[in-house]
């Protein structure tokens, strides 16, 4: 179906080229032409966001561009999501994400959230300035596979330790993978506090999340 491919390409282009108007228009076109909403998202919007991620890796795009692609992506999602036919939530891996207590810098966290969403993870976003107990509560509530902790400030890095300690205390540490990231975070810090992964950026976070999940399944088998 040639028409469908043209619409999907326009959706991808709208996101990749930071063009909210085009994304909006193409999203309506998709619905008007009976393109399946999930297809429009996965083979249109998501393709565009992944292309943007690639451009970021190639240093064609930087954070301002990713933020605008992200805006376009959400514009499309707002229109298409209500039309998704079936819920595929059951088999998705669940991620709880937030900026640790005392820090409100959330640009990095939002980009990680979006890229994980695009990679078909189910995201529970706790926002910013999140107390350790809130992470634990949400992990328990949804049975999360991964918890992602973010901070930009060196002064709040140790709140990540608090979350890990609390997971241990609650007997949850073996059940949930811990990924961390943000300006002052390093692999050395991740090793020291016993996190499962340090991700340098939002693109790397997706690869890390997939790798950890695969590894965990392998171990479980």
């Amino acid at each position: 179906m040639a028409d469908q491919q043209i619409i999907l390409d326009r959706l991808a282009e709208g996101v990749r080229e930071m063009d909210e108007d085009l994304t909006l228009e193409a999203s309506h076109e998709a619905l008007d032409n009976h393109v399946d909403a999930l297809t429009a998202i996965n083979q249109g919007l998501v393709v565009g966001m992944n292309q943007a991620g690639l451009l970021y890796e190639q240093e064609e795009y930087f954070v301002p561009e990713l933020l605008l692609c992200s805006d376009a992506m959400y514009t499309g999602l707002d229109i298409l999501s209500p039309h998704i036919q079936r819920s595929s939530a059951e088999d998705k891996h669940k991620v709880v994400i937030g900026v640790v207590e005392g820090d409100t810098h959330d640009i990095g966290k939002n980009l990680v959230k979006l890229m994980l969403e695009v990679a078909d993870f189910e995201i529970y976003d706790l926002g910013r300035d999140v107390p350790p107990a809130d992470f634990i509560g949400k992990v328990k509530e949804v049975g999360a596979d991964i918890v992602c902790l973010s901070t930009l400030m060196s002064t709040t890095m140790d709140r990540m330790v608090d979350v890990i300690e609390l997971l241990k205390k609650e007997g949850l540490r073996e059940k949930v993978l811990v990924m961390i990231g943000g300006g002052p975070i390093s692999q050395a810090f991740a090793d020291r506090i016993g996190a499962d992964a340090y991700s340098e950026n939002a693109i790397a976070a997706v690869a890390d999340a997939k790798r950890l999940i695969a590894l965990k399944k392998k171990v479980a088998v």
Binding site: H105, I107, M153
Partner: protein, 357 residues
Amino acid sequence: MNAVPKDEMTPLERMAAFAAGKPYDRIPCSSFSGETACHFIGTTVSKYRHSAKLMARVETVTYKMFGHDGAGVGPGFLALAEAMGTELKYPEDNIPFVANPVLKNWDDFDKLEPADPHKDGKLPIYLEALAMIKDAIGDEVPIGSSVGGPFTTAALVRGTENFLKDLRRNPEMAHRLLQLVTNTTLNYIDAVMDMGCSISIGDPTASGSLLSVKQFREFAKPYLSKLSDRVIERTGKGPMLHICGDSTPIWSDMADTGAPTLSLDNVIDLAKAKKVVGDRVCIMGNVKPIDTIMKGSYQQIEAEVKECLRKAYDSPKGFILAVGCQVPLGTTADNFMCFMNAARKYGRYPLNPDNFI
């Protein structure tokens, strides 16, 4: 390990000799202790940030303890944004953060004015503290004030995410805001210069971790140059410039702004910086503030001081031993002392590579 040699010069004498290319006693050294040191006098960050007296006390006490080569306080980017109307939240014992940027809507732009350092926000507190510090130890040590680069401050006036999007969506307004913030900063710089203190600039949001080189050149560099020009006009010498994260692609641009000294983040390879830009500017850096100064053993601190010396001691325009970025709260005074003493032990003049192998 052998005993720690005593300093033979005051920081003022040392820095003057260093600048003139004359012999000095040990490598100049900056520990960026700042508000982290508020714990050493038993106060909290919030109390410190609201009191000129406490700021002055922290600076004088830590100088007497460690003997580093500069003292002072400054509004940085947070207090400059605050003086323009952005609302900060002050946790009792942690770094303040932006609760509410003043310019969420561009329609409010015309209501903004450049801040008056003698009246607005907490700027008068910083000026008062500077005067007290200068009075107490200004005859021994250079006194300076750190300000935010216009890019970082503007991001806090507008909200960082919005501002980053403005670079593409609304570049014209972004420039108008940058100019307004620059005017605020120049007002503050003038007040500091009037007191005979120096200026350093930190512009963390203008980092290569967020912006392309092109964006840095269009939105950060011209305004950093304006600050530098003013400082040069008043004192004959530009301000030290610090940009966080990976600044490798913009070293030449940073030097172009007129900054005579670049303070480099610990993610940077000093050997590379020396090679690329060492013939234009003095290089300053870059012991890891968290992994080494805060969490490292004495052995790790000494080893990294030696590594920095090894990489950059012979940089053509000079090398100042420093921490790569601000040291976090909770760092012990012993670790700061260990860092300074490593400079005293291994950075004796004339710098000798045999001492830091």
